[in-house]
Symmetry: C2
Subunit: 421 residues, 2 copies
């Protein structure tokens, strides 16, 4: 397509989405769930067709010499598609985020004022690689009453196209408003640039992909962006910690899945318990193959550590590596976390209620955990049941995000000919 043709096509698709959004906002929970159920069924019925188109993408990726990990992310098989379909069924079970009463105000005059939850309007999901996101994005937006504009990565264009087609057609058959799902059918980079400009038509951009990609979207968009945040998470073992709990939690937070954002990167230990605790935990870490970077004080206890540098405290390893520091007080731990952390998920292990409360109040993070692993800060663990991610920003959404974060509010004022005096 020519540049102008791309721009025009994206503009017209965005107009169609905008127009559909008004109808989507008025659908009942039953109507939305009926649409989602038929989408789930249709994806399963057309499983072979999806795999057929997916193989074209996978072959092209191999020919182009793309990395094995990227090819893995693109590839679909019967098991992966079943998991994706199960995800749709899980979203059917969630409460309707739309229409609920957020707040009843107490106005000064004789009117009633209610704040109710409504859809944002049009959401555009811009993502890389994994074709399953095409399904996630479509059903999350439908459930929250939003129209969606899907822009997937070029590596999965054939897979995304057939999935979008199946979803759209099933949706229409189940009563979904026309235009509710728009698929941007091009690999041209211009398409993303164009989407990021269309404020007034698109209400929210959700980027999913590499950190560079998300930063590009954030810095280029004229539309508000909701994105998953980076994680430099801490666990602080207090002087009043239950050492067995501390060992269990500190091991889980580092080792259960080190590559993810809510894994622990830095372990802070109160000096009074450092001898006992560090000896034991570093023994476990050694067995799990964890590489340790430790402060001078803790190196006196840890035999298998390398010296930490100033840089260590700012490093997200996302790997079997850890920074360890001995601190003199809960105060010092809080200051360290607020200075070096990414305001994502930070934990204290203590039986001292006062220290727990102080830590919870003063650590400036989206989630503070008391006697629990940072790995538990997660939408599915929290019962939010879906895959939008964890926000480290403070406006609109903070921490694990659910369907509510795809909504806004509206005041409904009722009077009986009420006027301003």
């Amino acid at each position: 397509m020519e540049n102008n043709e791309i721009k025009q096509k994206i503009f017209s698709q965005s107009c169609l989405a905008k127009s559909a959004s008004a109808k989507l906002a008025t659908l009942s929970l039953q109507e939305k769930n009926k649409i989602l159920a038929l989408i789930a069924e249709s994806l399963y019925v057309n499983l072979k067709e999806i795999i057929f188109h997916n193989e074209i993408d996978v072959e092209a990726a191999k020919t182009a010499g793309l990395s094995q990990s990227l090819i893995d992310r693109i590839s679909l098989d019967e098991r992966k598609i079943s998991t994706i379909v199960q995800g749709v069924k899980d979203i059917i079970l969630l409460d309707d985020p739309i229409g609920s009463l957020v707040e009843t105000l107490k106005p000064a005059t004789q009117i009633s004022v209610k704040k109710v939850r409504v859809p944002l309007g049009v959401v555009s999901m811009i993502y890389e690689a994994r074709p399953g996101v095409t399904v996630d994005a479509a059903v999350l937006c439908l459930k929250s009453g939003n129209a969606v504009i899907l822009k997937g990565g070029s590596e999965a264009l054939n897979s995304n196209r057939i999935i979008a087609k199946i979803i759209y057609s099933a949706g229409l058959n189940a009563g979904m408003p026309e235009g509710a799902i728009q698929f941007i059918d091009t690999s041209d980079r211009l398409a993303v640039q164009e989407l990021l400009r269309l404020h007034g038509l698109i209400d929210l951009i959700i980027p999913r992909g590499s950190e560079d990609f998300v930063n590009y979207v954030k810095n280029s968009s004229l539309i508000p962006v909701l994105s998953h945040g980076k994680g430099l998470c801490h666990t602080y073992v207090d002087k009043d910690a239950d050492i067995d709990s501390a060992l269990k939690v500190a091991f889980n937070a580092k080792c259960q899945r080190p590559s993810v954002c809510n894994a622990m990167e830095t372990l802070l230990v109160h000096k009074d318990v450092s001898q006992d605790f560090l000896t034991k935990i570093c023994n476990s870490y050694e067995q799990a193959g964890v590489e340790i970077f430790a402060c001078q004080e803790s190196l006196k206890i840890i035999k298998n550590g390398k010296p930490a540098t100033e840089e260590s405290w700012s490093t997200e390893y996302h790997d079997l590596k850890i920074s360890i520091k001995i601190v003199g007080s809960v105060q010092e731990a809080i200051e360290h976390i607020n200075k070096y952390g990414s305001h994502h998920s930070d934990a204290i292990i203590t039986k001292n209620e006062e220290n727990a409360k102080r830590f919870a109040n003063e650590v400036d993070s989206s989630a503070v955990l008391i006697n629990a692993s940072t790995r538990l800060h997660d939408g599915s663990v929290f019962g939010l049941g879906c895959e939008i991610g964890i926000s480290t920003q403070k406006l609109h959404a903070r921490g694990a995000m659910g369907l509510k974060e795809l909504t806004t509010t509206k005041y409904i004022v009722e009077g009986n000919g009420a006027v301003r005096e």
Copy 2:
């Protein structure tokens, strides 16, 4: 000051604010209200000193030949200061927005998860002219547990400086953390540019002033911006309207204070009631000196109207001027409002519950009013009790904003050695 000196000073003031914000977050309602009470008292006690410094600004403005309306906005007298002090006392009466439970989640595992309300951290208010904003901004931020960086307009620098000094000193005497209020003591434009860059230190920018000024801040800031939105508000008189109510509300919405954002700009009337209603309302408008721009159909009824153009439907008069259009259905009214409106405040006058519900659901505005004047969409009318404004954005804050919009949330997770399986 040299450029580098300004940059350095602003950076160091922002660091002080950031450091104070951690302490402010932990103050109780009693502690905060004690600070506000002493600030109110001290402003009143130092009334003469404030007026003395204000006169320097007023004289300079006169010498510089600034407009009378600007000089009016800068000028303070005993009555104006009393009103400002009363505003502080009103804010003391508001509930504490901090620490309240927003939501209790239902996690899958044996942990408890609560979402609680916490301060944003550091808020910078950047404003023009009115020195009263120095007080408003400081006390709103204190009440919501935020540190504040004040950057007022150069025309009121002397007034703002003395007010900030009085507030800061009274605050400290009442136990306010050091550094909680930072006053940017320069008229250099560089100061604003510099503030807008300091993400990581400043959490929110609130611009107050002309539309051009607010747009400049929005387009230049690396920090989230919360601002007051423009208003192109509608009233739709349905075929099932109570005509007496409609006359009262349509007159109030246009004439009670035409210069403000929630005044009505366009009146839509169902064709079935247009003859009776338009004859009567235009008679009232004529007596009030309202200039009328009307569609071809309505010009057959209205004797004193000029023809409306396509541009009329997009015009915010903020004056005794109005656009009038006859429509064939509630559907047509909704489509007109969603196309031409600013998503601020839109009203329907009807006794028909179905039409009212449909209008409330389908009009995409921050407030929808049923049988009530658009002028009622206001923080003080709604009982929010303070002066942040009305947002037309959809993320974080929509519609009339209160203290809650100066806050964010935090998840507090409690376990008993809980880990991710």
